[in-house]
Amino acid sequence: MPEVSMIVNGCAVRGTVEGRTMLVDFLREKLGLTGTHVGCDTTQCGACIVHVSGLAMKSCTMLALQCEGAVVTTVEGLAALSSPLHPMQAAFREHHALQCGYCTSGMVMMALDIVRRLGEPDDATIREELKGNICRCTGYHNIVKAVAAGARAMAAQPKETAHA
């Protein structure tokens, strides 16, 4: 089986995979990073969103081998275990932007991509930008509030801690 190596959450990792192994399966099964979820497995729901080379992508629709040498960030990479939550994670908690939590890691990773590209967009723009993230619990209202609040909190932070 082929071998793949990449940087995940700042750590160099290496593993053997089948050619058909998707990035999300490599992250979950090989690396034990189960914060990234598989919802629809058809590129629609966004539960599997991670950052690859700084861009939000759906890890259920990328082969692990396509990430050879790439820099990957998952939700586990946003805040160390003993340190405070990332401002976007804190905003999701503060605004009760989740119920079952299944979509949450993908929502948070997408939210950070929205902030990277658009700064502090208005609510209508946030809703449009979340087109590829499906939540079946919340009705999205609190998610939109959380993304806006997280964006504000990140803008108020010194640059180097505004992780994206």
Partner: protein, 276 residues
């Protein structure tokens, strides 16, 4: 088989529609540059939708195309999906095929150059031969152009989309996507009607034949045909305005809230980008 962004191919492999013995990832091999050359925009097939949507070159010369591409899929899909992949996939509700047909694009491959009108040949089919790879597409800059699509209420792809353009030499072209299982097509009767004057009223009374129109849970053939007629008028009206335009409509609110024709489908304008 060749793999680029994989946003169609990997999905289709999961569905069992393709089972290639091997895949060759051409990311980084096929160019992704975007250039203005001799009255046309040349886009390398490796350009992602995000790159095309945010291209300053397109913003200056053919903003309608940047706007169209900025509404393909969702932001995460646009970070991976490519122009080459989208035209090679030729999905029946694809946005790019409509743009290629209405703008009179040329598809460049490793073997030849093919006019868009000859490139797309049916449901998810093109003239590409095994081993032949799309390397770039050139889009002539239109004098006027607009794209209007009405979203599927669940998956948000174009239930019907109409691209209306008037080329630099004044020739009208109208392409419809999402309506036929066959894929995007030129609506010749609409083009004929627009030859005298490129105005929305020239399309009044035109009827798209329901034969072969897609029917599914979301829309029957008559509804899709009606949408195509209404969206074509809207696209021409937008194109005849001062800027290149994109309009994305969906279910859910009153007609006419955007000041457009009162006979619009029950739709809400969720984004009307004056992109230039």
């Amino acid at each position: 088989m060749v793999l680029a962004g994989g946003q169609t191919l990997l999905r289709d492999m999961k569905r069992g529609q393709h089972a290639p013995a091997s895949l060759i990832d051409i990311t980084g091999v096929v160019p992704n540059r975007i250039e203005f050359r001799d009255g046309a925009i040349w886009i390398g097939a490796g350009a992602t939708h995000a790159e095309v949507a945010s291209s300053p070159v397109l913003g200056q010369h053919l903003a309608v195309l940047a706007g169209l591409v900025g509404h393909i899929g969702d932001p995460a899909v646009r970070h991976r999906g490519t122009l080459g992949g989208a035209v090679a996939a030729n999905e029946p509700a694809g946005d790019y095929p409509a743009a290629c047909l209405a703008l009179g694009a040329t598809v460049h491959t490793t073997a030849r150059e093919v006019a868009a009108a000859q490139f797309f040949v049916g449901d998810r089919r093109t003239v590409l031969e095994p081993g032949e790879i799309v390397t770039a597409v050139t889009f002539p800059v239109a004098r006027q152009a607009a794209y209007v699509k009405f979203l599927n209420p669940a998956a948000r792809y174009a239930m019907v989309g109409v691209f209306a353009a008037r080329s630099a030499d004044g020739r009208p072209r109208v392409a419809v996507t999402g309506a036929l299982a066959h894929g995007a097509f030129r609506w010749r009767e609409a083009e004929m009607a627009l030859t005298g004057a490129f105005v929305a009223d020239a399309l009044r009374g035109l009827r798209l034949s329901p034969d072969g129109l897609l029917e599914d849970l979301f829309a029957d053939a008559a509804y899709r045909g009606h949408l195509a007629e209404v969206l074509a008028r809207r696209a021409v009206a937008l194109a005849a305005g001062p800027t290149h335009r994109i309009m994305v409509l969906s279910h859910g609110s009153r007609a006419g809230t955007d000041g457009q024709q009162p006979d619009s489908p029950t739709g809400r304008r969720i984004r009307d980008l004056s992109t230039s």
